[in-house]
C-alpha cells in the first residue's frame, strides 16, 4: 500500500511537470504548443535514452546497497572501441558482420570491466564507492590511451562506419532499445529469482548470508549488467555523435544516480523499482526540455535540477521505515 502511494507520488511529480511544461510551452505559428509536437516528444525520449539505459542497471546496483561510479568511463571505452573497430579492424568483413563484431567487442569489454568491479567488491570486501571510483579513473585512462586521446571520427560517406551510424542513430532504434531494455530489466527485477536476491541482499545483507543466498555471485552479476548496459549506451553514443570519443560520458554516473534516486530507490538499497527509475528519468528529461524550449540558461537549468533532486528525495524520505 505504502509502495503504491510512493509510486503514485513520483508519478504525480511527473504529471505536475508535464502540465507545467505544456502550460509554459512556446506556441508555434500554427497555434500548437511546441512541447506537444510529436517531434519534440520523441526528441525527449531520444535524449533520455542513454542515461535511461544506464539508470536501469544502476537501479540494480543501488538496490544491493552499492553504487557504480564507473558507468561514464565504461560508456567512453565502449564508444571508443566501437569507432576503432569500425574504422580500423576487419577490413574484409561484410558490413553486417563487421558491425555486429564491433558492437560485441565493445560491449564485451565494458561488461568484463563491470564484472571485475563486482568481483573486487565482493571478494576483497572493499566499498563499491571506492572500487568503482578507481575504475572510473582507470577505464577513462584506458580509453584515452587506446585512442591517443583523440576523437575517432565516423564519416558520413558510404563506408561501414557511416552505415552503422545511419542505422543506430535513428530515433526508432534508440528509443526502441531503451524500451526493450526497460522491459527486460523490469521483468528481471520483478519476476526472477535473481531479482528477488538483489532486493534481499540490499534489504539485509547479513540476513541474506544467514539464508544462504549467493551474495558474491549476485553482486558480480549486478555490476556486470551495469557494464553491459553502459557499453550498449556507448555504442548508441558513437552512432549518434558520429565519433568514438574517449572523453564521452563525463558525469553520466551522476545523472543516472539522480534518476534512480528521484524514482524512489534510496541509496541504502533494499527497495525500489524499475518503473520508479523510468519515471525519475522522464522527470529529468521533461524538465530539461521544458527549460530549453524557454531558452533558460543552462547554468540556471543545473540549479533548478539540483532543487528538484533534493525535493524529490525529501518527499520520499519522510516515511523512512528504520
Amino acid at each position: 500500500m505504502l509502495d503504491l502511494l510512493r509510486r503514485a507520488q513520483s508519478l504525480a511529480a511527473l504529471s505536475g511537470i508535464l502540465v507545467l511544461a505544456i502550460l509554459i510551452s512556446p506556441v508555434a505559428s500554427d497555434g500548437s504548443r511546441i512541447f506537444l509536437q510529436p517531434g519534440n516528444l520523441t526528441d525527449i525520449l531520444r535524449q533520455i535514452s542513454l542515461i535511461g539505459i544506464i539508470a536501469l542497471a544502476m537501479t540494480f546496483v543501488i538496490l544491493t546497497g552499492g553504487i557504480d561510479l564507473s558507468v561514464g568511463s565504461l560508456l567512453a571505452i565502449s564508444t571508443t572501441l566501437t569507432a576503432m573497430a569500425l574504422t580500423r579492424a576487419w577490413p574484409h568483413a561484410s558490413y553486417t558482420s563487421h558491425i555486429l563484431r564491433a558492437i560485441l567487442a565493445a560491449v564485451a569489454v565494458s561488461t568484463l570491466a563491470g564484472a571485475v568491479n563486482g568481483a573486487v567488491i565482493s571478494a576483497l570486501r572493499i566499498q563499491p564507492f571506492i572500487v568503482t571510483l578507481a575504475s572510473m579513473i582507470g577505464v577513462r585512462g584506458l580509453a584515452k590511451w587506446l585512442s591517443s586521446n583523440e576523437n575517432i571520427d565516423i564519416g558520413f560517406g558510404r563506408d561501414v562506419a557511416a552505415e552503422f551510424a545511419a542505422v543506430f542513430r535513428q530515433k526508432a532504434i534508440v528509443i526502441g532499445s531503451y524500451a526493450c531494455a526497460a522491459a527486460l530489466f523490469w521483468i528481471l527485477l520483478a519476476r526472477t529469482v535473481f531479482g528477488r536476491h538483489v532486493r534481499a541482499i540490499g534489504d539485509n545483507e547479513k540476513a541474506a548470508e544467514y539464508a544462504g543466498l549467493p551474495i558474491r555471485g549476485t553482486k558480480i552479476w549486478v555490476y556486470s549488467l551495469s557494464g553491459l548496459l553502459s557499453g550498449f549506451a556507448g555504442v548508441l553514443y558513437a552512432a549518434e555523435n558520429h565519433q568514438g570519443n574517449p572523453n564521452a560520458g563525463v558525469a553520466y554516473e551522476l545523472d543516472a544516480i539522480a534518476a534512480v534516486v528521484i524514482g524512489g530507490t534510496p541509496l541504502t538499497g533494499g527497495k525500489g523499482s524499475i518503473s520508479g527509475t523510468i519515471v525519475g528519468t522522464l522527470i529529468m528529461g521533461v524538465l530539461t526540455n521544458m527549460l530549453r524550449l524557454k531558452n533558460v540558461d543552462s547554468n540556471v537549468e543545473m540549479m533548478i535540477k539540483a532543487v528538484i533532486i533534493v525535493l524529490a528525495v525529501a518527499v520520499q524520505g519522510r516515511d523512512s521505515d528504520k
Binding site: 536476491h197 534489504d203 540476513a207 544467514y210 544462504g212
Partner: protein, 506 residues
C-alpha cells in the same frame, strides 16, 4: 549508621512495552563492594545506567548522601562522584591512553591548548593506581581487552569517583586479567571507594562482594549479606518460586545420532562435545556470552572451527559458510531476527520462500502459484497471523515475525534445526505456537537444538539440556531431572575452581 552514599528509591523504567525496572530499590554504603545480580533481562544494567545518568528513569528518586540528586547526564554523575565502566568499554580507539582519560574530564583543567606533557603528568598517578603499565601516549586501540578495562578504571579514578559502577567487568576478561581486577577492587575498597558490581557470575560475587542485591523481572527481590548466604540461596532468589512448568506432553524414543560434535573449539568455544539424535530436542542453556550462540555459529559455518570435529549423519562436516551448511542440511534460526533474520521491507511470502526459491522456479523465473501453494500449509501449521502474505515483515508483531522466519526454515526442511532463542521477546500465545512447532519437528524425526534464555522454555521443550559457561560445557542434564536451580548453578559456574554444579537441597 551513616547515610547511604548512593540510593535508588522506587525507580521504574519502561522500554517500549517492556518494563525493565519496577519500583527497584538499591542502597550503596560508603566503602562497600555491592553486587547487583540477576538473570539476563532482570534489569541490572538498566539500574546501573540510571545511577550513572546515562539512562533517565520514568519514576523514582536517586539520593546521594541522603540528599535528593538530579542526575540527568553522565556529566552530572561525574560532578557527583559517580563513575561507570560500561560492559562495552566505551573508549576512543584512535586516541591515546592519556587523551582517553582527559577527554570530557571535569578534573582536568581544559580551556587552553593542552600539551601532551600536561596530559602525561595528569594521568600518571591514575595509571599507576589502576596498575596499567603503559605510557599515556599509546593508542587506546592497541591495548588488550584486559588493559582497556584497566584504562576505563583509571579514567573513573581520575574523575575523583567515590562510587564506581562496573557492568559485567569480567565478561570479556581471561582468568588472570580477572584476578588482577579483583585485586584492584580490594585496593579501591580499602581506600574508601564504593563499588557496584553488576554480574551474574556466582563465584565472583562470593570473592569480592560484601552485599548483593538480587533483581528479578525488574523488581528488587532482596539485599543480602554475602557472608551470611550461599550460592544456592542467591540462585533461588534469582530464579524465583514460580516453577509451574508444563512438561512436554509425551516423549518419543530417540532415533539414531544425526549430529555429533567432538572437542569443538572455536574463538569462543572450548572443547565442546555432544550428540544430537533424531527426534530429540537438545536444549542449550547458558547466559549471554556463554558461547551458546557461538555453538550455532560454529555449526552453521559462521565461525571458524579451530579444533575438533563435527559429524552430520555420520560424515564429517566442516561448513565453510551458511550456504554450505544449509546445503548439507543444517538450518539456523538466528538470535536477532531484525539484524540477522528478516528482510524487513520484503513481504511475508518473499521472506518465507527466500531460501528455497531454487525449487520454485523455471529458467530463473519465480513460479508464484507454486510459492503460494507451498506456503499455505506452513502458514496454517504456524498459526501465522498477518493481514496478507504481501504485507512487509516490518508491519508484523514480534511473534509473527519470528513465525515468518520459522516458515523459511520449515520450507527448507533441514535435518538439524538450531533455534537460537526463538521465544525471545514474543507474547505468550505465540510462544505456545512455537513450542508446538518444536514438538512437531521432533515428532517428524528432526534433530532440534534449542537455545533459550528462559529456563522454563528449556524444561518444557527439551529431552536433554547442555549447559555452557564461558565457552565450556559445564553440565548435561536429563530435562526430567533438571531444575531451574541446578541449571542456573551450572551456567554461573566460572573457571576451574567451580567446575562441579552446585547441588542444593530443594
Amino acid at each position: 549508621m551513616a547515610a547511604p552514599l548512593l540510593e535508588a528509591r522506587d525507580v521504574s523504567k519502561r522500554f517500549g512495552g517492556v518494563a525493565a525496572l519496577r519500583h527497584a530499590q538499591f542502597s550503596l554504603r560508603p566503602g562497600e563492594v555491592h553486587a547487583l545480580i540477576g538473570e539476563n533481562g532482570a534489569g541490572k544494567s538498566t539500574l546501573a545506567k540510571i545511577l550513572a545518568g546515562s539512562v533517565k528513569p520514568d519514576a523514582g528518586r536517586i539520593l546521594i548522601d541522603g540528599q535528593p540528586a538530579a542526575i540527568a547526564s553522565p556529566l552530572d554523575a561525574q560532578r557527583l562522584g559517580i563513575g561507570i565502566i560500561y560492559q562495552e568499554l566505551d573508549l576512543f580507539p584512535h586516541l591515546t591512553v592519556g587523551e582517553n582519560i582527559v577527554i570530557g574530564n571535569l578534573c582536568f583543567p581544559e580551556g587552553r591548548l593542552t600539551s601532551p606533557r600536561n596530559v602525561d603528568a595528569f594521568c600518571r598517578p591514575f595509571l599507576e593506581q589502576a596498575g596499567l603499565e603503559c605510557g599515556a601516549r599509546r593508542m587506546a586501540g592497541s591495548l588488550s581487552i584486559g588493559e582497556r578495562q584497566l584504562l576505563a578504571i583509571a579514567r573513573a579514578l581520575s574523575m575523583n569517583a567515590r562510587a564506581i559502577l562496573m557492568d559485567e567487568p569480567t565478561s570479556s576478561l581471561f582468568d588472570d586479567a580477572a584476578e588482577r581486577l579483583f585485586g584492584l577492587i580490594r585496593e579501591l575498597k580499602d581506600r574508601g571507594v564504593s563499588i557496584v558490581y553488576v554480574s551474574h557470575k556466582m563465584d565472583e560475587i562470593f570473592r569480592v562482594c560484601d552485599r548483593a542485591t538480587v533483581l528479578r523481572d525488574g523488581e528488587t527481590v532482596e539485599t543480602v549479606e554475602v557472608a551470611a548466604t550461599n550460592a544456592g540461596e542467591i540462585i533461588r532468589l534469582m530464579v524465583g518460586r514460580n516453577l509451574q512448568i508444563a512438561a512436554r506432553p509425551y516423549r518419543r524414543p530417540l532415533g539414531e545420532v544425526v549430529l555429533e560434535a567432538h572437542g569443538l573449539t572455536s574463538g569462543k568455544l572450548k572443547d565442546v562435545s555432544f550428540q544430537l539424535h533424531r527426534s530429540e530436542v537438545l536444549g542449550v542453556a547458558g547466559l549471554v556470552g556463554s558461547g551458546r550462540s557461538e555453538l550455532g555459529a560454529a555449526l552453521f559455518g559462521l565461525d571458524r572451527i579451530r579444533a575438533g570435529a563435527i559429524h552430520l549423519r555420520g560424515s564429517p562436516l566442516q561448513p565453510a559458510s551458511p550456504r554450505d551448511a544449509i546445503r548439507r542440511g543444517i538450518g539456523l534460526l538466528p538470535e536477532d531476527r531484525r539484524l540477522e533474520g528478516l528482510m524487513m521491507r520484503m513481504s511475508v511470502i518473499e521472506n518465507s520462500t527466500l531460501a528455497v526459491l531454487a525449487r520454485m522456479q523455471k529458467l530463473g523465473f519465480i513460479r508464484r502459484r507454486q510459492e503460494i501453494s507451498a506456503l499455505g500449509p506452513v502458514v496454517r501449521q504456524l498459526a501465522l497471523n498477518c493481514p496478507s502474505l504481501a504485507s512487509p515483515a516490518a508491519s508484523l508483531s514480534g511473534g509473527n515475525q519470528q513465525k515468518v522466519l520459522l516458515a523459511r526454515w520449515l520450507l527448507l526442511d533441514p535435518d538439524v534445526f538450531f533455534l537460537d532463542d526463538p521465544t525471545r521477546g514474543i507474547d505468550v500465545g505465540a510462544k505456545q505456537d512455537i513450542y508446538r512447532i518444536i514438538d512437531g519437528l521432533a515428532a517428524a524425526g528432526k534433530g532440534v537444538m534449542l537455545v533459550s534464555s528462559e529456563l522454563p522454555d528449556l524444561l518444557r521443550c527439551c529431552d536433554r539440556i547442555l549447559v555452557l559457561s564461558n565457552g565450556r560445557l559445564t553440565a548435561v542434564y536429563d530435562a526430567k531431572e533438571a531444575t531451574q536451580e541446578t541449571i542456573m548453578a551450572s551456567a554461573t559456574s566460572f573457571g576451574p575452581h567451580m567446575r562441579k554444579p552446585v547441588k542444593d537441597a530443594p
